[in-house]
């Protein structure tokens, strides 16, 4: 079975390739959506889980609540990725690139950052809910040392819980300010 870190790193690199193709002005627009997603998860994550639990009690989707939570978070992440990547949403106007080399480098940095936000958040919730996909044989414990180190570098693991509100809030406000200014 492919180690989960290989899977996640591959997914991250796919984001990087897509981001390089889309260029910085579009990718920075997507960053707004992803930071908003993190802010939403931070503020309304508990509410999301409550709703997921109630829906599950009606539909009897699964007896394993962790699986229900992961499916819920995964669905939200996929929905937001689709929304911010489909069409020209939140595009920053201007001329691009400033120079071929630095332009590509900026494209790469932002693309990797977006990939880290999305893939890292997904992996964080997988880890938080103890990899419930193992029920379907899609994961085999234990995590390798490298995977443990990488999980510790996911967005919610890096940003301290007590500072998340203002860090994510300021990041979102800052990005929106830059968008409004343009």
């Amino acid at each position: 079975m492919v180690p989960i870190e290989t899977y996640m790193l591959t997914l991250w690199l796919i984001f990087a390739i897509v981001g390089i193709a889309r260029r910085f002005p579009l990718e920075l627009g997507a960053t707004i959506g992803f930071v908003a997603m993190l802010f939403f998860f931070h503020l309304a994550g508990g509410l999301l889980q409550t709703v997921a639990t109630k829906v599950n009690s009606i539909l009897a989707f699964s007896t394993d609540l962790n699986l229900v939570y992961l499916v819920t978070y995964t669905s939200v992440i996929i929905a937001i990725v689709t929304m911010v990547y489909a069409g020209e949403t939140f595009v920053y106007a201007g001329t691009w690139p400033p120079s071929p080399l630095s332009g590509r480098a900026i494209d790469l940095v932002i693309a990797l950052f977006n990939g880290w936000l999305v893939v890292g958040t997904w992996w964080y919730y997988m880890d938080l809910f103890n990899y419930p996909q193992s029920l379907f044989g899609q994961y085999q414990a234990p995590l390798s040392n490298m995977a443990l180190r990488l999980v510790a570098l996911t967005p919610f693991a890096v940003i301290p819980a007590e500072h998340r509100t203002w860090i994510l809030g300021m990041a979102l406000l800052g990005l929106l300010f830059l968008k409004v200014r343009r």
Partner: protein, 267 residues
Amino acid sequence: MNTWIAGLLLAASMVGRPGDALPAQAKPLTGAAVPGAPTVAAAPVATAAAAGLPGSGSIDLTVVTLPGDGSDLGMLLLLMAAIFACIGFFRGSRREVPALFGTVVAYVVITRGWHLIARLVNLGWRLFNFVVLRRGVLADNPGQAWTEAASQSALVPAAGNGLRLAQMLLFALTLVAVYAATRRYAEPNMIERLIGAVVASATGYIVGVFMLSRIIPAAQINLFAPGEAALHWIQMLGPMAGLVLVAAVIVLGWRALGPKGFAKRYG
């Protein structure tokens, strides 16, 4: 050479913190360990690499501990990367990207193609000896002159004690040449400085791997699992530095989009 090694051992003992600086896989030296000799914390795969050529700069899943306090080389590598990053910040990406390319090429060629380099240089040395020093072309007995020239000891060793020193010398000369050759590029702007710092840190890491693995022959530098001291600093400063870098790139990239109100024009 011995002074270099002593200096590096001293630096390693200063930057590594005894006790908590032990690599995850490493064990403290016991009475059975031989003091004075670098010990390699044994991972199962270590033997294959250890059996390779000394100073071949191979990178595998082992961590080197220096004698005495169990410090690891990860901190030295990080320091070298940081020093090069500072240099790269002033030089900018236009100079640092070719420098990184040149460094990688030099690393690969010297590490993998040393036998060819040694053969070519030694052949050149014998030819020089034959043509210039012995004037073999004009000599009464050119065959004898060539035999004498060919019997000279090799200028560049293909193996043995001088191998690592010769490789380090050539690598250092190449590095100086590459850095000198890339000086002609234009002065960088802010975004190029930032990119230059990141690129140069990679150059510093490669230089560190090359040099340290030759200064301490038993060293097997681990790229993916640095020792505890290095890991501590990476985990403490890495994410913060990364986020600051991303924030700076966003602001600088946004400014690079041009004056406010411009129409969208993407290349």
